[in-house]
């Protein structure tokens, strides 16, 4: 399948349905029958049920609130022993309803930050840049550059955390603790530079609430990337680690998002289309293994790329304001650390009247559910961690 034609989301406006395609920044009308025919349609509706039947097949429950998982999620595993035949995933235990429409825009921004606290800056930038574009608000180029710096820092912190979780699940405890210490060091520096460990409260429609000195951030990230490279090199020569994650949860589907998709050889990264990154040349990191090892390799490659992007962004800062040309039927987007999030917005009386958001975890959860089939139950934790899924992203925006 051509990944250019992938429908990665859909929404209803009036009586008509519209779809979002990869490699397009505009939404287009689409008959609902075409959308319903997608074999991952139920994932776009946030349903992940794949029950299996057969002789001696039974359902094994893991969740909703159990050790080993960071968030609340319930797995119903169909098996006749050790091997997983199929899995139902029930994310609705912690499904939140977040009211964004007809709210004060600044409150909507605070809520958007808390859709996924771990990737809060990416989501707050998505809302800010969308509203700025819709309302024709220009921002100083300095603000664009600082937003890029913080989004890339967030990506690096997220990839380090995912690698640490992957190591923990694969019993590489020393590596895991060294990575968690590295993440903590970065979080402390971020708190010192921006005022908050999770970058809450920094973004503002049309600017930033709290300014910061970019050179300190770049220096901190450079040191962190150097330290990460040492740990990564140690993991690459660990036969135990490589054997454990190689061929685990192999999945190659173009509807998966972000590092999961790129680990299957699909060179799609929303940053290539994002006006924020228009002048920043960088290579998309891809691998062909489609397994947990390939996803780990993509994390490692992207950490290096993020630092390069940050350095280039500083060098290429303009004196002019940043205000990209608005598009007709524009669908907004951002490449979060887990993949692209796409958003449709409508405004009325200076408030959001209609919103649709397709987050990367909506599709990556389906990719995980398919990829884990045929693996054994003990593979679940590190397979899951390699997808970078956040259940919080499956909340309803109202």
């Amino acid at each position: 399948m051509n990944s250019n034609q992938i429908i990665s989301g859909f929404f209803k406006k009036g009586q008509d349905y519209f779809c979002i395609r990869d490699n397009s920044r505009s939404f287009e009308p689409c008959p609902i029958e075409e959308i319903k025919n997608l074999d991952y349609f139920h994932a776009l509706e946030k349903e992940y049920k794949h029950n299996a039947t057969g002789e001696n097949v039974f359902r094994f429950n893991y969740g909703p609130s159990t050790g080993g998982m960071v968030e609340t999620v319930d797995f119903k595993i169909y098996t006749y022993g050790e091997r997983i035949l199929s899995v139902d995933i029930l994310p609705e235990f912690k499904r939140r309803e977040i009211k964004i429409t007809h709210e004060k825009l600044d409150n909507a921004l605070l809520k958007m930050e808390r859709l996924n606290g771990f990737h809060s800056f990416s989501y707050s930038t998505l809302l800010c840049s969308s509203l700025e574009r819709l309302e024709g608000i220009g921002i100083p180029d300095d603000v664009r550059v600082k937003r890029i710096l913080l989004m890339e820092t967030e990506r690096i912190i997220s990839h380090i955390f995912k690698t640490a979780r992957l190591c923990e699940a694969a019993s590489q405890n020393i590596a895991s603790y060294q990575l968690l210490a590295l993440r903590e060091k970065m979080m402390r520096s971020v708190a010192e530079i921006t005022g908050h460990r999770y970058m809450f409260g920094i973004n503002k429609i049309g600017g930033l609430y709290r300014d910061f000195e970019p050179s300190r951030l770049i220096q901190m990230v450079k040191e962190a990337v150097r330290e990460y490279s040492q740990i990564r090199d140690g993991l690459y020569v660990s036969r135990i680690f490589i054997d454990r994650i190689e061929n685990t949860c192999k999945i190659s589907v173009p509807f998966s998002r972000g590092p999961t998709m790129r680990a299957s050889g699909y060179a799609y990264d929303y940053r290539k289309m994002d006006p924020y990154y228009a002048d920043l040349d960088f290579s998309i990191v891809t691998e062909n293994g489609s397994d947990s090892l390939a996803r780990f390799q993509v994390f490692a490659g992207e950490i290096k790329t993020s630092l390069e992007i940050m350095e280039r962004a500083i060098e290429q800062k303009n004196a002019d304001d940043f205000m990209p040309e608005p598009l007709e039927n524009e669908i907004f987007g951002v490449e979060t650390p887990s993949g692209d999030a796409r958003m449709f917005l409508e405004m009325e009386d200076n408030k959001i009247s209609n919103i649709y958001l397709r987050t990367p975890s909506m599709l990556n959860l389906e990719a995980f559910a398919r990829g884990i089939c045929g693996n054994v139950k003990t593979d679940i934790p590190f397979a899951y961690e390699s997808f970078g899924i956040w259940i919080s992203e499956l909340g309803e925006l109202l």
Partner: protein, 208 residues
């Protein structure tokens, strides 16, 4: 494979001396803000009343920065249990009722080498049956009500119930809190709470 021990030795001891020593850092806006001038502060969740900030409501957004500044204090918690208990070992089971993910990762942060909560006898366990304390995070969710009640029910006594983060305490800016669902022994404010505040609060509720 000599790399791991050599790297570990090179890094030296990272672990804080807290609570015996002073905390090295703190996330500024995760602490309760205090007055910096007389101008009327703005708060999107009405957490400021007569100049006093409610630890239950404050969402650490810093929108009050024109008239307030971070206190950098570690007292962003309140305990409702006077009798000290579980001084030797304290096993925690976290429950996520409806978080954004930040409270979850911040609670687990106390296990990283910088804080190393195990040196204080604080551990995470995989089931509420083994736990001395439940740390409940996030906003109220209908589906989670029975899960939380069941977890409280199966715990051995004495048990400590902790409500963790602004969402669990008041609903924050997202929804409804959990105060009417459980009776907490300890509440910890912040969005999310800083790891040093978490350690301080846990030590205090144990009476240490």
């Amino acid at each position: 494979m000599k790399l791991w021990p050599i790297n570990s030795l090179r890094k030296g001891i990272l672990t804080t001396k807290f609570p015996m020593g002073k905390n090295e850092t703190i996330s500024p806006w995760s602490t309760l803000p205090v007055r910096r001038n007389d101008s009327e502060p703005y708060c999107p969740v009405n957490a400021i009343n007569m100049g006093k900030v409610s630890l239950e409501k404050c969402i650490s957004c810093g929108r009050c920065m024109e008239s307030m500044e971070p206190s950098l204090r570690l007292d962003n918690f309140e305990k409702f249990r006077e009798k000290p208990l579980l001084k030797r070992s304290f096993k925690i089971f976290p429950i996520d009722s409806g978080t954004c993910g930040a409270c979850n990762t911040e609670l687990f942060s106390i296990g990283n080498p910088y804080y190393d909560a195990t040196r204080l006898g604080i551990f995470f366990v995989n089931t509420p049956k083994q736990a001395d304390a439940l740390a409940i995070m996030g906003v109220y969710g209908e589906e989670m009500e029975s899960v939380i009640k069941k977890a409280v029910e199966v715990m051995a006594q004495p048990a400590v119930i902790i409500l963790f983060g602004a969402c669990a305490l008041s609903g924050g800016i997202i929804g409804r809190g959990l105060r009417d669902l459980v009776d907490p022994d300890l509440i910890i404010g912040g969005c999310p709470p800083d790891p040093f505040v978490i350690l301080n609060a846990l030590e205090k509720v144990r009476g240490r």
